[in-house]
């Protein structure tokens, strides 16, 4: 009676085009977020008490002509919509104002200080992800065991710690040294004096300077990954398809890797998107503690004057960076999870 078996109504199988559509949606979303950030940035400006020209141009604008010039350049006398257009035009052409402290264009400052931050944040994020996921997987696999308890306990403590305080402790122990143990790392800065940064010796020197900051940020952020991975993996291990995989005769290691972890990576990827915003914040405090001349330190320095243009500029760059990073994470997620593509 095999011919009685009817096939179910046909449904289209996923075509590669649907990933393209997914990418399109996400890119549009990112552009929307970017627009929102530009608007928020614009209004932050307007919240300033007092006359913007006087506050922002403080110390630089002496005569009435200077003030008028300043106002014209930044459209401060015009109706709000026109001001916004001017602001947009300025921002998109790279005119982010001039620093009150350094008297140079903010865009120049930002470009100068960009790469140490990228290096710091990039390395820490990658390390935090890799180590955190590894810890989470092994904690979940031997749930309740000593490794799990130890790992969960310590990550919880790290999670409750301000990352810059951890940095201070690490400096105290590993850079300054306690008692008989002398410190082995520099206490701050990016380069030792007298060393050419682009030479091999210089690169190693830079790496040595970045070790403690990277270690601090990594320790601070791996907690989130570890905790989420552990919890997601425990969720997945309870699912029916795991039993199916074991019933097929697969080895436990393979079941874990190919089925459970693969699925548990999905929520972990989502979390990494949220984490990026925090890592950016961490860059500010860590660069302050370790005196790394990056965007974070630039922001912190701008607080004292306050150097409004710099704060605005770094805010914009940080937000744009987070949006782009989020977009990349989302695109990667689309490759991992076929369900979002249809």
């Amino acid at each position: 009676m095999s011919n009685v078996i009817a096939s179910a109504p046909t449904q289209p199988v996923a075509r590669p085009r649907s990933y393209a559509r997914y990418v399109g949606t996400k890119v549009l979303g990112a552009l929307g977020s970017l627009m929102f950030v530009l608007v928020v940035n614009f209004f932050l400006f307007r919240v300033l008490p007092g006359d913007p020209a006087r506050t922002l141009g403080r110390g630089r604008l002496k005569s009435a002509e200077d003030i008028a010039e300043f106002q014209r350049e930044y459209g401060l006398n015009e109706p709000l919509p026109r001001q916004f257009i001017t602001y947009l035009h300025n921002t998109l052409t790279g005119n982010l104002g001039d620093s009150l402290r350094y008297r140079v264009p903010v865009s120049e400052l930002i470009l100068d200080r960009l790469w140490p931050t990228l290096l710091l944040v990039g390395t820490s994020t990658v390390l935090a992800m890799v180590i955190g996921v590894w810890l989470g997987v092994h904690s979940a696999w031997k749930r309740g065991g000593k490794f799990d308890k130890g790992s969960t306990g310590s990550t919880l403590v790290l999670y409750s710690m301000p990352e810059w305080w951890l940095g201070l402790l690490l400096i105290a122990v590993l850079a300054v040294g306690i008692g008989p143990f002398r410190g082995i790392f520099p206490t701050g800065g990016l380069h030792s004096t007298g060393v050419d940064p682009s030479s091999v010796e210089g690169v190693l020197d830079t790496a040595k300077h970045l070790t403690l900051p990277v270690l601090t940020l990594t320790l601070a952020y791996l907690a989130e990954y570890s905790l989420v991975m552990r919890s997601s993996l425990l969720d997945e291990l309870g699912e029916d398809y795991i039993t199916t995989a074991r019933a097929k005769g697969l080895r436990d290691v393979v079941v874990r890797r190919r089925h459970a972890v693969r699925n548990a990576l999905l929520p972990t990827t989502t979390v990494s998107a949220i984490n990026i915003g925090f890592v950016v914040g961490g860059a500010i405090t860590i660069e302050t503690v370790f005196s790394i001349p990056g965007l974070g330190l630039l922001s912190q320095e701008a607080l004292s004057i306050p150097d409004y243009w710099v704060l605005q500029g770094t805010f914009l760059v940080a937000s744009a960076g987070v949006i782009v990073a989020n977009l990349l994470v989302n695109l990667f997620y689309g490759l991992l999870d076929p369900r979002v593509r249809t």
Partner: protein, 326 residues
Amino acid sequence: MSVTDTELLTMQGVSVSYQTVEGPLPAVRGVDLVVRAGEVVGVAGESGCGKSTLVSTVLRLQPRDAAVSGLVEVLGQDVQTISWGDLRALRWAGASIVFQGALHSLNPVQRVGAQIAEAIRVHEPGLSQARVGSRVTELLEQVGLTGARGRAYPHQLSGGQKQRVMIAMALACRPQLIVADEPTTALDVMVQAQILDLLGDLVRDLGVGLLIISHDLSVLAEVCDRVLVMYAGRVVEAGTSAQVFTDPLHPYSQALSGAFPRIGDPAARYAPAGLAGDPPDPRALPSGCSFSPRCSRAVDRCSQIDPPLVEVAAGRPVACIRVGEP
């Protein structure tokens, strides 16, 4: 369907008990079961009666905190004590399980064809990519799907299609014994009929032994040779499917059988359907017969004696002291 004498699955006195903080929880209590080649055996019972736990012992898939006693022999091997390597070889190639595909028995991020291929590669690692691919297509066609379906992800398939995929996957390594755990639950009636026909055909064409678990007695009546009825971890009645369905002896089987309407039987329309109450909590089983609190024919003796499984006729074991009494 010719039933041979080869016993593919033998269960003798199988008991499964979960270790909990409050003490051991008996899920299965002394079950005997045999499935022969070419035979279809059904196990019926409400959810919570222990049938799924029983089935999990066939390939040693019971949860870590479950203690199994008694003999579970598959293709002559004692599944609970053989080595890990032998167990892995037995899994899927000796006996396979058709899980409820409509739920989450398939990996959501892997194409279904790849999941079938995975089973093949475990047991026949030397096979070339092309050979594996053609076997997957063959299997899918055998269950009424096209080969192209293999490229789909589970969420793109309907419940019936996913169930067919599970069946195709269960056949992948040419097992001699197949266990189907609730193969038609969560499917609509039309699709149920198709799946049952498919299973019946496969048994006939391939000569495998099939063990079906279901809470739906009518499903089992349709396709099984023999049926066992379970309640609170024990077998309370067994017989041919015709016997159990049309002439149930145990009050529980009677209630189960009456719960499913029979077309053409006017009395069924007026008889009260369904069974009041809930299955007993395994931690606090009623004294005597565990069904007595819900039984319409219970007397005082029933709560004092736990009725043993006794053959009231050839091949007709029943666990009730009131059988034969008015």
